[in-house]
Structure formats: C-alpha cells, structure tokens
C-alpha cells in the first residue's frame, strides 16, 4: 500500500506566520519555507547547535543531541534541523536564534547617493561616474505620421540614441520586447501630435546595449537593483535605488552551502564526488531568493521591480552560482571555467527578479582570487593609488593584494570563518545584539558596546578581535593563546576545557552566559596567522618590508567598526603605524554596488582583473613556516613586533 503523505500546519512565533508542510519535513526547512529566519551555521547537520527553537504546542520527533543542555530540554528546546514534523505545531523562535531584520546599519557611503554625478566608495575621494549598468530612460517619442513612418522599434532606437548617445547599431532587443512594443507605445498615447511617453530600460552587455523593458509613462523613479556579496560563509544583499544610488536596505544570511563544508574546497570535492553541483547551486540561489524576499517584503516592492543584479564572490562561489563545473579549480594547474563571465539572465539561474534582468558577475583573477577582490580593489580605488598599498580582505579565505596603480600582486590563504562569527561558540554576524567592541581595563573590569544598544546575544568579528587583544593585554591568555587558570574568576573550567566569561546570563538576551572558549581562541589565532603569513610571504616575494607599506586597507564582515590597533596587537597585521591603516568594511559588497551603479566602475574592475598577478602560496615552501611562527601572540619573532612586546612587558613586569 502506498504511504499516505500527511501534511501539517506549523505556526511560528513571534512572527505569527503559518505554513503547511509534508510530514517528516524538518522544522528548519519549514521555517525556511515560511521565510522565518532561523540561525543555522552547519546548514542542518546537527553540529553547530545554533538552530534552537521552542516547541510551544504539538509534538516532534527528534534524535538525542548533546547540543542542548538539560535545562533547555526541560523547557522544550529542540534543534530545528533535527526535529521532524509529525503533527500540527506551534514553534517559537527564541532571541538567540532570530536575526532581527533590518538592523544591519548602513554606512554613510551607502546612504550618500549621487553627488555631482558620481557614486562613492568607502573611502573619501574614490568615486565613479553614476551610470548604472542597467538604466531606465524616459523617452518622449513623436507619434508616427504619414510623413514619418519609421516603425516602432527603429523609432524607439532613434529616441534612445538621441537621448543617450548610444549608437543605434549597438542597441538590440529580444523578441518579447518587440512583441510588446506596439501595444505599450499605443498605451502611452496615440493622439495626434502628443508625444508617446515611455520608459525604456537599457542594459549594458559589453559593447552592446539591450532594451530589456518598455513601460508606459515615466517610471524612472522606480528603479531598483540588487548588489550581492556571495561569500563562502556569509551572503549579503543590498537593495539599491539605481536612480539615486542610495541603498534602501540590506540583509545577510549564512551561506547554506556550509552543510557541505566550511571552505569551498570541501564543497568542490562534495560537488564532484557526489555529482551534486546542482544541489550547491540551488542552495545559493535559495539563499539569494530568501534575502530578496525579505528585502522586497520589508520595502513593499515586487520581484518585477528589480532590473539588475551584480554578484561579487570568489571564483568557486561564482562557479556554484552559475552551476559551472568547479572541479578544475582544485586540480593542478588550477583553472577556472572563466574569469570574465558574460552578463547572464538572472531568471535563467532561478533568481526571482524581473525576467529579463541581467546578472553581472565581477571578474576573477585566478581560481583562487575572485570578483570579491577585484571589486574590493576598485572600491578602495587601488587602481588610482600612487602609494604602495596593502589590501586585505578577511573572509573564509583571506586574500591579500599588494600594489598600486602601476602593479598589483595577490594571493589567497585559507583563514577560516571565525571572524565572521562561525566556528566560535558565541560568534555571530554583525547584527543587532552583537558585541562589536570590547576592552578589559587595568582594574580587570570589562567594557563592551553592542550593535543596536540592546542586550548582547553574541560577539561579532570586531568584538572577537578586541576580545583576543584584551585577553592578551590583561594577561588572561598567554602568548600561545592559552587561558591562564586562576587569572580572574572569569576564567573558569568546564568539561570541555577552560573558557572566559564575557557576559553572565542575567545580562544577555539569550538568558545564558556568553563565553569565549579555548577552542574559539585557537580558531581565531589560526585565522589571524593565515592572514599574517600571507602578508609576510607576499612581502618577501616582492623584496619589501612592512615599513615600505604606505597604506593598509582592511576589509571584511567584522562589523561597522574595527579597532585597527588590535589587529597589530594580536599580530594579524605587521607593526605598521596605525594611521596608515583604514578599515573599509565589506569591500566586496561595495564593489558589487559600485559596479551596479557605474559602468565606469565595472570597466575598472575588469582592468584590475586583467592586471593583477596571482601568487600561489600553497606551492611556496616558506608559507607553512611563516604560518607556524604567526601562530603565536603577537608573533614568534619579537623583533617584528617591538612595540607590542614592549606594551605587554609594561603591563606585566614578569613578561620579559
């Protein structure tokens, strides 16, 4: 007898959203389908323990887990990824599992918009002509007469050419546009001597321009695009008004592909061995569509309103996004399918926006340095810079670019996702409730600042960096990063080893302690060591010293703020005067946004991608040695960090 498939209702609180799902669906899947955000890092394989939810009514089947405390179990906590729906349910999502939407703050560059015809990057002085890749052009067409019998399509092209200067021969349109054209034009008015008012949406495709939409009337103010940073760990999307260049809203999610591996090499292996490239692609498309749905709902827009999307990401992530075979990326001689991806139809990939909207990928340099870096380099204006610059993007891979307008070399090191809040017990993204700054005073009192000024839920990248530096300065960890038992009552012993209490339960939003564990500290030290050793190896290859570097641009999803001094204290960056260091935030996203808004910016990105020289660290025997010596706080060679060693010795006279 065939199995009867029951379906049940799952109701989510506090969102008050309900969805009907098939029996045996996991609660996590149901939440995704209902567009209810549930935090999950491992992507549903019961290893991260972040997807805790509470069963208020009903019953679920769930296997035993060690990720829930006995107290949580008693309070009907379950892991959403493990619990299967076997009846109607009422589920409430506790604060620690919820990302409260809209609380990622926009920076000033993002709200600044267009000034004097230019759009702006994260640094003053870096600006590009405002001329979006996809533009809406309001046109007034003379209606045809017996004296002027130019057909509709040619009439349209003539008007566009007159208004924009785009040569007629480089304008084209698809069949569907042609079919719609007569009726749209007539809808716009057909009375004698009254111009036909229409808005044409024109997309740049290399040297060609394609008319992708015709709308009656003037719709130039309803002009939206999406800039997406497709990160290995985090995906961030910005909703941008193409006409004003202002960012309306921003949303982020962890990349669901994480269930197939923390770094993209593991994911490539999975895709190849299991023939599962399609699954990886659908996963990232689902994430992007999820972000879109949130952004659109929150801002009362429809999918049809989005006419362009730019994506920046490392080469592997772009391969996954487009379902291109990534196998050769990890095999000698490490070849990508393409560095310069032509504009594609977003709809063909399953991205839920206007059906003819193009998707532009920022170009890569190599299999291991992608559009996140070329875009970032453009966003900080590296191609115009006279001074010798070091540009570092800290993500799951840490990419380092050294150079200026004359030359650029780059490399990539596996840094791990810890500064994005993953792989750290109470790590989180830079959203409301995240501790973004932290300091331990000389009297051992602990001060912190929270994004959104609420009660803390976890610690984001900048807070984690501060924590390591503060622990080192206060002497609560030694230079190996080992917690010192008995140093303060905050250092305490648990079954899993030592941990440091950051915020006690009564003061947190989650009702449980926020701690940093010994394992967290080691993960963060490994991440910083990967970055430092990449910088050191690249400098050595170019016969340069840290003191030769005149500017350092530090990018990454740390948060809105970064205390650059601490990057030196922990030895992530070499000892360089701090006034030469600038934190530029998520430069990959800035790159995607600027490209979306400026054809000039996109041209620059392409120039940068052609110009950058890739330097392979993995085949460099010095890299591993550099890495081990950087696996120390601040570093194994005191001579490279004289000021930090001095400061530590001053605070702890027993330190030599």
């Amino acid at each position: 007898m065939p199995k009867v498939n029951h379906s049940y209702k799952v109701h989510f609180l506090p969102h008050d959203r309900e969805i009907t799902v098939q029996e045996d669906t996991t609660v996590l899947e149901a939440a995704h389908d209902a567009n209810v955000y549930v935090s999950s890092i491992c992507g549903g394989v019961a290893t991260c323990g972040k997807c805790k939810v509470v069963v208020e009514e009903g019953h679920v089947e769930c296997p035993p887990t060690t990720l829930l405390s006995s107290e949580e179990l008693a309070n009907n906590y379950i892991l959403a990824c493990q619990a299967r729906v076997t009846g109607d349910l009422l589920i409430s999502i506790p604060p620690e599992t919820r990302i409260e939407g809209g609380k990622i703050l926009l920076s000033s560059e993002e709200t600044e918009g267009v000034t004097a015809g230019k759009v702006h990057g994260p640094l003053p002085g870096v600006e590009y002509r405002h001329e979006p890749l996809v533009r809406k052009i309001y046109l007034e067409l003379e209606p045809p007469t017996l004296d002027d019998t130019l057909p509709d399509y040619e009439r349209l092209k003539r008007a566009i050419t007159l208004k924009t200067g785009i040569p007629m021969e480089s304008l084209e349109a698809g069949l569907e546009i042609l079919k719609e054209l007569p009726s749209h034009l007539r809808q716009a008015g057909s009375r004698y001597n009254v111009p036909l008012q229409i808005t044409a949406t024109v997309a740049q495709r290399g040297v060609m321009h394609e008319v992708i939409r015709i709308e009656p009337g003037d719709t130039t103010q309803v002009d939206w695009g999406l800039a997406v940073d497709v990160g290995t760990t985090t995906i961030v999307a910005e909703l941008v008004n193409l006409a004003t260049a202002k960012v309306l809203d921003i949303e982020a999610t962890y990349n669901s592909q994480m269930k197939w591996g923390e770094d993209y090499i593991q994911r490539i292996m999975y895709a190849t061995e299991r023939n599962a490239l399609g699954d990886l692609q659908q996963s990232v498309i689902k994430d992007i569509n999820g972000l879109l749905a949130i952004l659109l709902t929150r801002n009362h827009l429809g999918p049809e309103d989005i006419t362009a999307i730019t994506c920046s990401g490392n080469t592997a992530m772009i391969h996954f996004l487009l379902e291109l075979d990534p196998t050769l990326i990890r095999k000698e001689p490490y070849i990508a399918t393409a560095n310069f991806i032509p504009p594609l139809k977003a709809h063909e990939l399953g991205i839920n926006i206007y059906k003819h909207a193009p998707l532009y990928c920022l170009p890569s340099v190599s299999a291991y340095v992608g559009g996140d870096i070329t875009g970032g380099a453009m966003a900080i204006g590296l191609e115009q810079e006279e001074l010798l610059c070091l540009f570092i993007d800290i993500g799951t891979n840490g990419e380092v670019v050294l150079g200026n307008k004359e030359w650029m070399v780059c490399c990539s090191a596996s840094a791990g996702p810890s500064f994005e809040g993953s792989g750290v017990r109470h790590g989180m993204r830079a959203a409301s409730g995240a501790i973004e700054r932290l300091d331990i005073a000389e009297d051992s009192s602990l001060n912190y600042k929270i994004i959104g000024n609420g009660t803390p839920r976890g610690i984001c990248g900048s807070g984690l960096l501060d924590t390591i530096a503060a622990l080192l300065r206060s002497g609560a960890i030694n230079k190996s990063g080992k917690l010192v038992k008995g140093h303060t009552p905050r250092v305490r012993e648990t079954e899993e080893g030592l941990e440091f209490l950051v915020v006690p339960a009564p003061q947190t939003a989650t009702g449980s302690d926020i701690v940093i564990t010994q394992a967290d500290i080691q993960n963060l030290i490994r991440s910083k060591a990967a970055i430092y050793s990449a910088v050191a190896t690249l400098l050595e290859a170019m016969h340069l010293k840290p003191s030769d570097i005149q500017r350092v641009y530090l990018a990454g999803g740390f948060g809105n703020y970064l205390d650059v001094r601490n990057t030196i204290t922990i030895g992530m960056l070499p000892e360089i005067p701090t006034d030469r260091i600038r934190f530029v935030g998520n430069s990959s996203l800035s790159g995607a946004r600027l490209s979306l808004l400026s054809q000039e910016a996109m041209t620059r990105v392409r120039d940068i991608a052609s110009k950058m020289t890739y330097f392979d660290l993995m085949s460099n025997p010095k890299y591993m040695d550099e890495f081990i010596s950087a696996n120390f706080l601040p570093h194994t060679n005191p001579d490279e960090f004289p000021a930090v060693y001095q400061e530590l010795a001053r605070r702890h006279p027993s330190f030599n």
Binding site: I628, N631, F655, N656
Partner: protein
C-alpha cells in the same frame, strides 16, 4: 691571484649554561659542566669561537629496562637494578660527563612509582657520583607535574637540568626550577617556531634565558635523523644570526632513539647478514651521535659505553687544537 675571504661574520653567540654546582656554589658536585658559547657553526672555528665541547650524558634508568637487547644489557648487567651503582659505573668506568636519570618507573604504565621513591633514587645517584645531573620525567604530563616538583625541591642548589617544559605544560616545572635554582629543558618536537614560542613563554613568567637547554626530539639514523639535523642546524644558524630566543644550547637523545631501531637491536640469529649485534648497536648509536654533532649539539644523551667511547674520541679529535 688573491683568493677572496669568504668567512662569515656572525652576530650571535650561543648562551652559556652551567649545569651542576660545587660546594662553594651551594651544591655538592665535584665539578660543573658548562655548555654553549659557540659563535660559529660547528667546526668552522676560523669564523668564531666553537664554544664548549659537546658533552655526553649517560642515561641511568630508575627501574631496570625491560626491552633492552642483550648487547646493551651486557655492560650494565651487574648494576642494572641499582641506579646509584649504575651511575657510578658510567662515570668512573665509561667517563660520562653527566648522568641523566630517566624516571621511567614513575610512569603510570611502567610501575607508577611515587614521588618519594623517585626522590630516593635521585638522592642515591647524587651521593654516588660527583658529576652534574639531568633529571628527566616520564613524559606523562600529570605524573611529571606531581613528581618533578618534589625532586626539584630535594635537589635544591644542585643546579640540575630538569626535563622538560612543553608548550602545553610548562608552568609547574618552570616555577619549581626557578625556585630551586635548576636549569630547564624546553621541548618542541621538530619545530623551530614552536621551540622559540616555548622559550618565549617560559621567559615571560620570569625564567632566565641562560638556564635553558633546548630539545627538539631526536630521530636516529634511518629514522628521521635528517629532520632533527636540519631543525638543529636552523636553530644554530638563527642563534648565530642574533635570535636570542634560539641562542641556547641544544640537547639530543641519541641512546634511546638509536636503540629503538631494529638495526641496532635485532639479534644475530634474526639478522645474520647485518653483522654482529654487539658491534652493530653501538655503531648505530655512534653514527647517529657524530652526525648530529655536525648540526650544533651541546649535550648528547647516550646508552652504550662503546658508542660513548667512540663519540668522545671523535669529539676530542675535532676539538683538539691540532689543525
């Protein structure tokens, strides 16, 4: 034609470490042993001072060894169950510069002897010989942390060399060595960076650099000797280039490692084509030792008297000013 002068000019010198204390210095040793002091790479003494000659520490076990082959048991069979007599024989008969008491018997799996017994053993050896002592734990962290402090206190003032401090376990032994005036072995398995990190960590809590001897773990001939060699060589080059955290004497454990190899320990009837076991084992130990000396070694822990004699002869030949 003038031949250009290609001698290197080194900026660093290996720190001198003194092991043992005489009566005047607050101990009971008849002589002290100084190691280190080199300011050139080994045997390139036209570039600097070669420093003190490498010294040999013969191992004495607190419990009779269970797995030693006959060729190794032979010279010690009359003293094997009395560490004091064993040590005395090593010094008087075989010319050991130092005695290394290896506390195998305190290991939980090898007798689990208590601190009191271990202290008794060490005391008896101290009384039996006049040379300085190295005291080596059993490499079980917990047990070492329990026993070594007691031994440190019991030998206070003798300026022994205690082993060992590692990256994950150093506070306890450092504190005791500091309080009781001993020297310390810092250990990091074939990694020069971690070696340096351990040295920084122990000095961070106040231990003086001039009381540290480094141990990189040793591989015998055919069993990774080249790893130990290249790491020790790198250490010495770093030392001479001015890295004070690596400018410290180096110890290697040749006896134990050589006699673990099947070439050294297999019996005549097992390997008829390999030559006599009585020669083979000592040779294996000798070759391992003389090779590693080239990389820059200051203290060599050894087992077999024949090997000791050969290595001593080799050292004397190399260091005699007869060039």
């Amino acid at each position: 034609m003038q031949i250009p002068n290609v001698t290197e000019k080194w900026s660093g010198t290996v720190t001198e470490v003194t092991i043992g204390a005489t009566k005047e210095e607050g101990g009971t040793r008849q002589k002290v042993v100084k190691v280190g002091g080199a300011s050139c790479i080994p045997f390139m003494d036209f570039e600097g001072s070669p420093g003190h000659k490498p010294v040999i520490a013969m191992d004495v076990l607190d419990v009779p060894p269970e797995d030693w082959p006959p060729a190794l048991m032979e010279p010690f069979k009359d003293v094997i169950s009395d560490p004091a007599l064993w040590a005395k024989k090593c010094v008087d008969k075989y010319g050991a510069d130092l005695i290394c008491i290896k506390l195998d018997g305190i290991h939980p799996d090898k007798g689990n002897r208590g601190a009191e017994e271990a202290v008794k053993t060490v005391r008896s050896v101290l009384q039996a010989v006049g040379v300085p002592l190295i005291i080596w734990g059993c490499d079980d962290t917990q047990k070492d942390n329990e026993v070594l402090p007691k031994i440190s206190q019991a030998t206070k003032g003798e300026r022994c060399l205690l082993a060992s401090a590692t990256q994950d376990n150093y506070k306890n032994i450092v504190a005791n060595c500091m309080a009781d005036g001993h020297n310390l072995v810092t250990q990091a398995p074939v990694d020069v960076n971690i070696q340096k990190q351990v040295n920084i960590l122990v000095t961070d809590i106040g231990f003086p650099l001039d009381r540290i001897v480094m141990f990189q773990t040793t591989g015998a001939l055919g069993y990774g000797m080249e790893y130990a060699y290249s790491i020790q060589e790198r250490e010495r080059l770093a030392a001479l280039s001015g890295d004070k955290f690596l400018a410290l004497p180096v110890l290697c454990n040749v006896g134990y490692e050589s006699w673990r190899s099947k070439e050294a320990k297999s019996k005549d009837e097992e390997s008829p084509g390999w030559g006599l076991a009585a020669e083979r084992g000592p040779l294996w130990e000798t070759i391992t030792a003389v090779t590693l000396i080239q990389s820059g070694v200051d203290i060599i822990r050894m087992y077999h008297p024949k090997a000791v004699a050969a290595v001593k002869k080799h050292i004397d030949a190399l260091y005699t000013d007869g060039r």
